[in-house]
Amino acid sequence: MLKVRSDEPEYSFLWDKETKAVNQHGNLIDLVNEDSDLHCQSLNINNDPGIGDNPNRYKQHGFFLNADNCIGCHACEAACSEKNDNPAHIAFRSVGFVEGGTYPDYQRINISMACNHCDDPVCLKGCPTRAYTKYAEYGAVLQDPDICFGCGYCTWVCPYNAPQLDPVKGQVTKCNMCVDRLEVGLKPACVSACLGNALDFGVVENIPENRIEAKISIPGFPTPDITQPNIRFQQTRSTQLEMTRTDSMPLKYQKDDSGSTFKPKVDKKHGEKKEWNWAKLLTSHESAHVIFTLSTQAVLGAFLIIVTAGLFTVDSLATLNTAAVKLPLLGIMFVMLTYGLFKLNMHLGKPHRFYRGFNNLRLSPLSREIAGVSGFYTFLMAYGFFSIFDNDIFNFLANASGALGAISGLIGLYYMYKIYRIKARPFWDHWQTGSAFFGNTISFGALLTGLISLPLLSSEHALLTLATPLMALISLGLALELIGHLVHSRAMANLENEGAASWYLQTTRYGKAWITRNVLLGLSFAFALLLLTMNPSGVAAFIGWSLLAILMISAGAISRSLFFVLVIPTTMPGAFFWKNKAFEEHARESGLVDMEQVGVVRELHGKFKLDELLETIRTTSPATLFKNIKDIVVWKKID
């Protein structure tokens, strides 16, 4: 247990005498029943078996921010980083601000924010490695960097930017609620360090002495509906009608008609000029996702077509069932999928920990996607292997692998879509993500099939027979995608949150690229329809398919890149330098990043540490292995 020093000031000690039963989200503040076996267990902090004597140990705790009082002095952030020994580029707590009014009637509201240890921890649910735990003790949501493989998915789903992905270490870390201090009755380090008397901490819904309210939101704070966060605010001073952000996020906040709550609104910070921004678009850090999703979808689409041709008697697809066509096609699909998976895996902070991706099948769509796609990859290989031989047994095995591959591939595709349905990322949180993914699966699957198989066909008849259904599929896929874009555009333009901000960037900063994508996609669809009706053969077919491929691939690459580069997460407002995306980008571009003390690091990819993987294999006992596997499959129900 932590030793409390003899001269520890009174303000450092927790103060909750009485507590409420239910919080404002309607959840119980008592986290476990008194007879639960979770009572009276040690937190094993650094393997210390002691059990804290905090009387409110099993109640949900949370931070309290009096926004009237925060002076933005950074003492909370500093105390946190000092305690957790964080380098400059990592901060479990950050202070940003919104400002409003006209000189001298000017107002700045500083907001200090760390993890809100939510009732509904989306980070925990999203993490594929099961690095997160929500503890019965204090309701703390803690993350274990030793488990994490650095995919950063928790940083996508968290609306508050609480989990911190460290590109240097290739892992996530976050606020640990200073549970070691709570165990001995002390408030977290940040709270004890506060110089504005703004930050406090206690059992959630308890209003500290001298404070009068516990609101669940203030301007700039993302909607509490997403995760039911355990932070409460006081903000009693009258505010300006409009509060703006100094960071690059094109959002501001306006008072609604009731005059009490703020609504986000797009802040057209960069004007209305349409730009290209090719470099930023195509070389973004997320390009690994662009390659992975597109290649997986194309390969899955092609696989579904081939398997359909094999399992069912579809005359027009029959030629696909011949070894001369099928094997080269499967070979190319295998290469494409391998490359996509490789890019994705190497995108992890710790790629050698890839096997941990299945850990959270119970809760994480990402785990399920990884399982689905891995299954698909396995069955694709099996299908290819069995297809080499032509006898009943192998045919059966091939068909079985095909069916299983199709199922697991579709599961993978579904969860690939579910991954992006993130409430904290409104630009993605729309069915258009699905229409694009499924549409692309169909269109690129058919295109891939056609591009490889058609040149291999000997007779013109066979070509014409196969080309028609493939072109129909391409048209269908493109139609799906187009409809999705149309509806999505309208939806985003009508939003007033980060989704609308994404839409603003789409039509300005990436406006020309976006228009190009629209033109290319429209042309692809029109051209596909033309080819479908004309059904050309010979050189015309060759030219037609090639041109279509160029159009579709260009549109697809731009489209998927836009998807990743445009998304704006709901985050807390940043400051001018610190936690300002535009300044971070500027630091990387201008070379300021090379000075460690600037607090910005380059976006790095993790190293595949084979020795670490071998070490894990060597040191993991069969019993541990078995337990780990069991934990993935068997879920103990707790409370």
């Binding site: 303000y11 002095c73 964080n86 360090a193 001018f576 300021l592 600037v598």
Partner: protein
């Protein structure tokens, strides 16, 4: 759903395994926080924390203090003396003996050729008091130059001068505890949350217990201004007009404290005659505060039972800095607000030991608030040091800001800079560069070998910093607090005390004098010099100071013998009627005519340039610029500009822009904010080759402090942002 897993894992948290805490006093600003430096079993310094039982900070530290322990292994520290013949040549490492022999020879040589005063010494507010005292003894008693000053001229000189003009002596009469008793607080050009966050917290604590109105006078909407009950966005450099108008209203409406005035002051009539000219309506035209508000504020302050005023650089760094301080004192004297709990004129000081240098460095006189102009003081000190009293000059020499022009004139040929960085800190950098080039011999003594002034030096001496040595600091509320040694300085670096003592040995004169090696012995030598004086500290010693987490002066041997304790806090000066430091015991009410002779915006240079501090940085960033968890909040210089002005100029938020004054230009990143008016920009002063390329820094006639905060500039957009980014980056070696 609670846990996300079937069984709990052990929790790993950072444990720094600190086994040993060393008591110290923070070495950044003058708030004087008690801090403990944590070492692990291997003796490596890994953490710091505020001392819970210390009255000043009560366990708290600001963002700088929290990471102060990272100073010890920060980049750029010097570890060997380096020397060269000419600037432009590269440096060679040398031995301490050779370095100090050369230095002594050069000093003698220059003094022989050009006179004793042709070698100047500029020190700092960063050293320990024992070091200041020793440097003073070395300078006044051995080297014998009268051109000796500290960089405190850039921050506290106006406060010193104002205190002397009003009360007869330097020495802030109040204490932090006054916040707990005051009924109204007026903050003049002071932004506590950014500059002195711990004092802000003390004020906030007091305000939460018992709300009192806060009036902030500042042209910029700082956090403090925003939190004020009344914010007076005064026109830069016109505080004196506002002060006179306030007194005008107070006297006009009979709100003054007649009994106090009669028992404690002289000069009411002259003051009354002067302020009669400043009726609120006329004053409002100059200071920009409307007449009604002036009256309102005057009534609020005068009617309060206890009124307290604090101020910082907004007052001091002005052509009317000294007058501004006197003006504040005038208000407090006519309202009877000095020497009572919650009623005071409290100058919030700048550097950790600005007070120590004021008290003991002999910069502006002789130790213990003694004056060169006073024959008795010269006699006393000469006797105590065993120096011929005739060796002392009979009048104070040049202030820091006059030393540099004297180099320009060729009157000063050699300069010794101790822990100060005029290349970044003095106004008009271009002029300073030229000035430094003219020197025959420049010694830079600093903890950092990469301090910018080293570019122009002939000799660099590596000094220990902060808790690499031992001694005391005096803080804003006259509290003497101790720095204990936590670790050794890097390489061959020596403490400043050791450097002074070693250098002294190289002059014959020192043989007759005492230069104790141990800081505690120096302290004991100083104590008798304080006996019976305002700053009496005869009741203290190093250990007692640590035990009490700092002791406010005066604390006399008699009090100690009587077993009267040092009090925890709240010690004040001038608590009895008629006990001010002038011979008659009366404070002076000084009339303050207003002459506006500053640079003001005009057609060519249409914007006010205001400068100031950021909470994460200290002074010229030599320390904080290398600590990522400080520096990251402002790694490059920026400029606050009103969005409406920016729009007119075609400047976008986060663009690099060029700021031009009559002195030069600077490249900064634009931050559009309504915090500043349309005709003003604000640039923090911490950055090398930045805002002080623009500032004019005309000098206050009394304090010789530069008017950093009032210059005129124009602003130009930059077309080639990439080149601007490169230029800005290249100027940030750290």
């Amino acid at each position: 759903m609670l846990f996300g897993r079937n069984s709990k894992n052990a929790i790993n948290m950072v444990d720094k395994k600190i086994t040993d805490w060393t008591y110290s006093t923070c070495g950044y600003c003058s708030v004087g926080c008690s801090i403990e430096i944590g070492k692990n079993a291997e003796g490596k310094i890994v953490g710091s924390r505020g001392v819970g039982s210390a009255d000043v900070n009560r366990g708290k530290l600001c963002v700088k203090g929290i990471f102060e322990h990272e100073l010890f292994d920060s980049a750029g520290r010097g570890d060997k003396p380096i020397i060269r013949e000419q600037i432009g040549e590269s440096y060679k490492e040398t031995s301490w003996d050779n370095a100090l022999d050369t230095m002594a020879d050069k000093i003698r040589d220059i003094q022989q050729k050009h006179g004793r005063d042709s070698f100047a010494i500029v020190s700092t507010g960063q050293l320990l008091t024992e070091e200041f005292y020793t440097l003073g003894k070395l300078t006044r008693g051995v080297i014998g130059t009268n051109n000796y000053d500290g960089n405190t001229t850039l921050c506290m000189a106006s406060a010193v001068s104002g205190y002397k003009r009003s009360f007869g002596s330097d020495g802030p009469p109040g204490s932090y505890e006054d916040f707990d008793h005051t009924d109204v607080l007026m903050a003049w050009g002071s932004n506590l949350p950014e500059q002195h966050p711990i004092i802000y917290w003390r004020m906030k604590q007091a305000q939460e217990k018992r709300h009192f109105p806060l009036i902030v006078i500042d042209p910029r909407v700082t956090m403090l201004a925003q939190n004020a009950d009344i914010h007076l966005a005064v026109t830069p450099g016109t505080d004196v007009v506002l002060q006179n108008a306030l007194i005008h209203v107070i006297l006009d409406e009979g709100l003054e404290d007649r009994a106090y005035i009669e028992a404690n002051t002289t000069g009411l009539e002259q003051l009354e005659r002067e302020v009669a000219k400043f009726d609120p309506d006329s004053a409002s035209k100059v200071c920009g505060i409307d007449a009604d508000t002036i009256r309102n504020v005057a009534r609020l302050y005068a009617k309060a039972d206890r009124g307290m005023s604090i101020w910082t650089m907004g007052i001091n760094q002005s052509m009317h800095g000294s007058d501004g301080v006197v003006g504040i004192n005038n208000i407090n004297l006519v309202t009877g607000n000095i020497g009572k709990p919650g009623a005071t004129s409290l100058s919030i000081t700048g550097q950790c030991n600005a007070m120590g240098t004021r008290e003991w460095s002999s910069c502006s006189g002789l130790p213990g608030y003694r004056a060169l102009e006073n024959p008795q003081d010269r006699e006393d000190i000469a006797k105590y040091w065993n120096v011929d009293p005739e060796f002392f000059p009979k009048k104070r020499g040049l202030a820091e800001t006059d030393i540099f022009p004297a180099i320009e004139l060729g009157e000063i040929k050699g300069l010794w800079l101790v822990a100060t960085n005029p290349m970044t800190s003095l106004p008009n950098t271009a002029r300073i560069r030229k000035t430094l080039e003219k020197l025959d011999f420049l010694v830079v003594q600093d903890s950092y070998a990469d301090v910018e002034t080293v570019q122009y030096a002939h000799l660099y001496l590596p000094a220990a910093t902060w808790a690499e040595k031992e001694g005391v600091f005096t803080n804003t509320e006259r509290r003497i607090n101790i720095v204990r040694k936590a670790t050794d300085a890097p390489g061959e670096s020596k403490s400043d005390l050791a450097i002074f003592n070693e250098l002294a040995k190289r002059f014959e004169q020192s043989a007759k004098m005492s230069f104790p090696d141990k800081p505690a012995d120096v302290f004991e030598e100083m104590k008798p010099l304080s006996k019976g004086r305002l700053l009496d500290m005869t009741g203290m010693n190093h250990d007692l100071i640590e035990e009490n987490r700092g002791i406010q002066w005066p604390y006399t041997a008699e009090e100690a013998e009587r077993g009267e304790g040092p009090v925890k806090g709240g010690k004040r000066l001038y608590t009895e009627d008629g006990t001010f430091s002038f011979a008659d015991g009366m404070a002076k009410l000084v009339p303050l005519p207003f002459i506006d002779n500053n640079e003001v915006p005009d057609e060519k240079y249409p914007y006010w340039l205001n400068t100031g501090r950021l909470v994460e940085h200290f002074h010229t960033r030599t320390k904080t610029g290398k600590i990522g968890n400080n520096n990251k909040y402002s790694p490059i210089p920026f400029m606050e500009i009103n969005p409406d002005a920016a729009r007119d100029l075609g400047i976008q938020h986060q663009d690099y822009v060029r700021c031009v004054s009559r002195r030069g230009d600077a490249i900064v990143m634009a931050m559009c904010t309504q915090r500043v008016p349309k005709d003003m920009v604000f640039i923090p002063f911490h950055f090398f080759d930045c805002v002080n390329r623009l500032t004019l820094g005309l000098l206050d006639p009394y304090s010789r402090q530069p008017a950093f905060k009032q210059s005129a500039v124009t602003i130009e957009p930059i077309a080639d942002q990439e080149a601007a980014a490169k230029m800005s980056r290249d100027r940030r070696a750290f």
